[in-house]
């Protein structure tokens, strides 16, 4: 495992870079996904229509196409940013419909009787939403949301492979191709560092699931 041990500092900075992409993606896709979910369940038809269109179009498009759109399409319109910004934006846009659908499935899982009971005991609209429906919806959507986020962490590698630079993938590629190390140990190192992101994330989510799970 010499190639890995010799370049541990490179791997470490690559790991931090990849982690950075993941965290930006996490914050951004949760925010955008929640907004789209709010659109999709709102009482206003035009917003619902927009939310549905957004989800249908982006969910069926590969991440790579979204990525290419950002990276090669936007410069044609005179919008130039670094690959890092484009890559993270593409990741956020691509993940948002999945976050939206996870949240929406949580809301749909709350039985109508809950809201009816809340109204029957005289809670106002905001009270029934904030104290009865949404807390249950949020807890129910944790498991699907968790798998969406883990998939997003893995998709961060695609953003790296695309040429953001200095992330785990680029480090591995550079060591294997340019510096002539054997590919097997180098890429095993990359894999191990990636597992350092995905496996703890999975464990944390499993813990969270157990903590907030509701038995119906």
């Amino acid at each position: 495992m010499d190639p890995v041990l010799d370049n541990l500092d490179l791997y470490w900075s690559g790991f931090l870079r990849s982690l950075g992409i993941c965290l930006w993606g996490l914050v951004g896709s949760l925010a955008l996904g929640t907004l789209i979910a709010a659109f999709r369940v709102s009482p206003i038809p035009s917003l619902r229509w927009f939310g549905t269109a957004w989800v249908t179009v982006i969910r069926n498009c590969p991440l790579t196409v979204v990525l290419f759109f950002f990276a090669f399409g936007f410069p044609e319109l005179g919008i130039n940013r670094s690959y890092y910004v484009f890559g993270v934006s593409a990741l956020i846009v691509y993940t948002s419909p999945f976050v939206c659908e996870a949240l929406r499935s949580g809301i749909n899982a709350v039985s109508a009787g809950q809201a009816e009971a809340a109204r029957a005991i005289g809670l106002t609209f905001t009270q029934s939403l904030g104290q009865v429906v949404l807390p249950q919806a949020f807890r129910t959507s944790i498991p699907p949301l968790g798998s969406v986020l883990i998939a997003m962490f893995k998709n961060a590698a695609v953003v790296g492979a695309f040429g953001v630079g200095q992330d785990l993938f680029s480090v591995g590629k550079g060591l294997a191709n340019a510096q002539g190390y054997d590919a097997l140990p180098v890429l095993t190192g990359v894999a191990v560092f990636y597992l350092l992101i995905t496996l703890p994330a999975g464990a944390i989510l499993a813990l969270l699931e157990r903590k907030v799970a509701i038995v119906r």
Binding site: T64, F69, A112
Partner: protein, 295 residues
């Protein structure tokens, strides 16, 4: 009272309906405004010019035939790699899934380890790994038919998707009522027969929608080859076309639409099969609940 369509709010009264109408108009205008701005920007930059769109939509254009011939070949390459990957994943996944079910607690540890490892790795890394490492091993994909890079992509996709399918199959078998396996054993079938003639066929049927959805994932993941520059599938060909004609927005729009249409059709198919499977009267969960309730 009829069941409300949405748990979030009641049947609207006259005031709520008025407010919803106002909201609809305001939101609609805002959305139209945003779309209008985007269209204006595109028009300003000349993105609607026939010079850019012509090769894609005007049959009279000199490049039209070449562009569509290349896109057609790309689509063919995408479909070939996706179908190969899903078929191989199905075979390997079924083996892995049944192996995990059949082995004892300690002997299945390596299988569980492999499954967790491959599931935790980004598929793009798996594909790159296969592409870089396989040539250093005695395994040679050279004699296999197909274009450059096809088999590296297919093997990479298979490694990832077979463990996903193994989990789908395992969940399917575990969701069957226990009586199915017990009855099969009681009439004297061997463990292999129980699995292959009683449990797996039923698991496949209930898991069919999930398997079709996985095909959508595979189809999307074939385009990872374009990022790696490994195999000439749709997106990579599209990228080359866009570089030649200098019209990335137009080409990517067309390619995106191709993916959306195919994947949307597949997801509808998954929903349709799901409805058919559950309508045919056999619901494993329901059967399971009955068994536990009876016991």
């Amino acid at each position: 009272m009829s069941r409300p369509e949405n748990v979030l709010y009641d049947e609207p009264g006259p005031r709520a309906r008025r407010r919803a109408l106002v909201g609809t108009v305001v939101a609609g205008l805002l959305l139209l405004g945003v779309i209008g701005l985007a269209v204006r920007k595109l028009a300003q930059e000349g993105q609607f010019d026939m010079e850019l769109w012509g090769p894609l939509i005007d049959p009279g254009n000199e490049s039209f035939r070449d562009v569509w011939r290349l896109l057609g070949r790309g689509l063919q390459a995408t479909l070939i790699s996706a179908v190969l990957a899903i078929v191989l994943s199905l075979v390997v996944g079924t083996l892995l899934g049944t192996l995990r079910l059949r082995l004892g607690r300690w002997s299945r540890m390596p299988v569980v380890g492999v499954i967790e490892l491959l599931r935790g790795l980004p598929v793009v890394i798996t594909i790159f790994f296969v592409w870089q490492v396989l040539p250093e091993t005695p395994i040679n994909v050279g004699p296999l038919p197909g274009e450059d890079g096809l088999w590296y992509l297919v093997i990479g996709l298979t490694l990832y998707n077979s463990v996903i399918i193994a989990e789908i199959i395992r969940a399917g078998v575990l969701s069957l009522p226990r009586g199915q396996g017990e009855a099969a054993r009681a009439v004297g079938m061997t463990e292999g027969q129980v699995m292959s003639t009683v449990l797996l066929p039923q698991a496949f049927r209930t898991m069919l929608p999930a398997l079709i959805s996985q095909l959508v994932v595979v189809l999307k993941d074939t385009s990872l080859a374009a990022v790696l520059g490994l195999y000439l599938e749709t997106l990579r060909r599209a990228n080359l076309i866009a570089q030649n004609l200098d019209n990335p927005i137009q080409v990517l729009t067309v390619v995106g639409l191709m993916f959306i249409v195919i994947n949307y059709a597949l997801s509808r198919l998954a929903v349709w099969t799901e409805r058919r499977v559950s309508r045919s009267g056999f619901r494993p969960e329901a059967a399971e609940a009955e068994v536990t309730a009876g016991a």
